[in-house]
Amino acid sequence: MPTPAKCHLLVGLPSAGKTTFLAAFWYVVKNATSHDALRIQVLPDDQGYLNGICDVWMKGKPQQRTPSGHVHQVSMRLVDPATNLAADIVFPDLSGEMFGQQWAHRQWAAEYDALARTAAGMMLFIHPQYIEDACNIADIARGVNILTDGAKSPCASGVPAQDLQRATPWDPLRAPTQVVLIDLVQFMVGEPCWLPKMKVCVVVSAWDLVERQGKPPGQWLKAEMALLYQYLTTNIRTIEYCVFGVSAQGGDLGNEETRKLLLDEAEPAKRIRVFNGTGERSDITMPIRWLQA
């Protein structure tokens, strides 16, 4: 008997890797590529969207941006081979722009609101190459000072105060990524959803880009997104979180040599690399299994 459908939200700003994850995930569950990975019990009638993004993934090409204004609501019945239990899972795949709009314009669609209020978990996608850090002028001045060994000091203090009319107008869409993500989580555990407990699975996509730093995903998050890390670790009453590094493509597709190597792999699922604090696997269903547990 399947358990009642659980809704897991895929949340992330543009180009965070949500659709690529979903494409690789669909391939794995449809083809049951490993013994312990989740697998699909019954193929859905309408697989057009999933097959489309999966084709792009198999070709080793970057996904087209999910068009703004569309909610691709993906639902599937998955079986865990370890327990043989089936569960219905719903993933609304929204464009990253829509999450940006939620933050900037403080509204979301009523349809999404209904899903959010029943969500069991949330996957928070972060792409290391597309993080808006919102550098402070003072930090840049300090960096210049260090690089020039103090020869260019003082930098900013020597500049007279400028006419504020000349400043580029403030755009909330250029706020730091971590601040936007915190507010998106706050909408779930605070107003308007007030969910009593929420599982948040942070997925650092394109993990191959930061793997060289030698930090486990949790430590990477702590170093790169300190505010989000503090928020997740201190709200233990309402948030249970876990951080995964996921390379759904397996490497940098922009590099022709790497792309060729990845496409040479007979089984595309073997391109996938998933990291958590304990090691590396190629099971992309791990984050969902953690959310389901």
């Binding site: 999933l50 403080r106 669609a109 909330p172 909408f187």
Partner: protein
């Protein structure tokens, strides 16, 4: 939340796998995320014990910069043994921090002036004290330079300043830049003395009040070859304020701070780490306590006495 209808839903295709739907049907309002007005802040204060910190000082003494620098400091990691645990004014913090960011296109960090027309703006932080293992709501608000001037010059205009009476900590900023200038430093001392006296006479500060005096922009004093004189003068101001107000408020503290060094040569909110924990922990008034011991309360009912007797064997 009342959904506001914008456009009716359409284009829902059947099927089990992926359903594409139009995304502009009805919209639901989310919390605005901007600085709170006092009536909105009252909701937070009603829900949990909340510390209210009010910053006062003349024009350009660095009040809003200080609020922004505290937020910016948390963006880099835990600060003063406190961790960021949430905020319902993230958009507001972002707005006031923007002119210190590279994206503003400015070459020198600046700050938009707080005006009286903006109304009372309160910034919220939900902080976790890792040493004491407690969470604390904090509301930060600043008086505009106009309000400060009005209070200093016209006693009758204190009416909009009830927030000071509610404040757990009143923080007075004295502009360090003025202390370096022999033509301005006496004014700096006089206006700080006058404002404290005025607030005291109006009953907004009193025996229960916790007052911090911060010498802001201390980098200008430290970086000045003749800064020794400014340091000495700051000590004179400190002694003077102690003599005048040390006995009439519960606690009067002094600190030197650098909220935001324009060249980044000092960490953000330098010196604030010495006062921020007290702003979180020390309430102006003691927390309400239950007047009755639970046992006394329970034993008023016959059935409860029976239960307690049973438990005690």
């Amino acid at each position: 939340m009342s959904p506001s209808e914008v456009e009716k839903s359409s284009d829902v295709s059947p099927g089990n796998g992926a359903v594409a739907t139009s995304a502009k049907p009805q919209m639901v309002d989310l919390p605005h995320g901007e600085a709170l007005q006092p009536q909105e802040a009252a909701r937070i204060m009603g829900a949990a014990p909340t510390r209210v910190i009010v910053f006062g000082g003349p024009y350009e003494s660095g009040k809003t910069t200080l609020i922004s620098s505290i937020y910016e400091r948390f963006r880099k990691g835990p600060f003063a043994d406190l961790c960021f645990c949430g905020s319902c004014t993230l958009l507001g913090f972002e707005r006031i921090s923007y002119l210190g960011r590279q994206a503003s296109g400015l070459a020198r960090p600046q700050m938009e002036r707080t005006t009286q027309q903006m109304g009372r703006q309160m910034f919220h932080l939900h902080l976790y004290d890792s040493a004491r293992r407690v969470v604390q709501d904090v509301l930060l608000t600043d008086l505009s330079g106009e309000e400060f001037e009005n209070v200093r010059n016209f006693g009758g205009t204190c009416r909009g300043l009830d927030v000071i009476a509610r404040a757990d900590h009143f923080v007075l900023l004295i502009d360090g830049a003025k202390l370096r200038d022999v033509t301005l430093r006496q004014q700096a001392r006089d206006e700080s003395c006058t404002i404290l006296r005025r607030l005291q006479e109006k009953g907004l500060l009193g025996k229960r009040s916790l007052v911090d005096v911060l010498f802001s922009k201390w980098d200008l004093v430290e970086g000045d070859p003749a800064g020794g004189r400014a340091r000495d003068f700051a000590a004179v101001v400190e002694t003077h304020l102690h003599e005048c107000f040390g006995e009439s408020v519960r606690c009067l503290k002094f600190e030197r701070i650098i909220a935001r060094h324009p060249d980044g040569l000092a960490p953000l909110a330098t010196g604030v780490e010495k006062v921020l924990p007290a702003w979180c922990h020390e309430p102006c008034m003691p927390e309400p306590v239950c007047r009755f011991a639970v046992e006394d309360w329970l034993q008023r009912r016959e059935f409860d006495r029976f239960l307690i007797a049973g438990c005690q064997g």
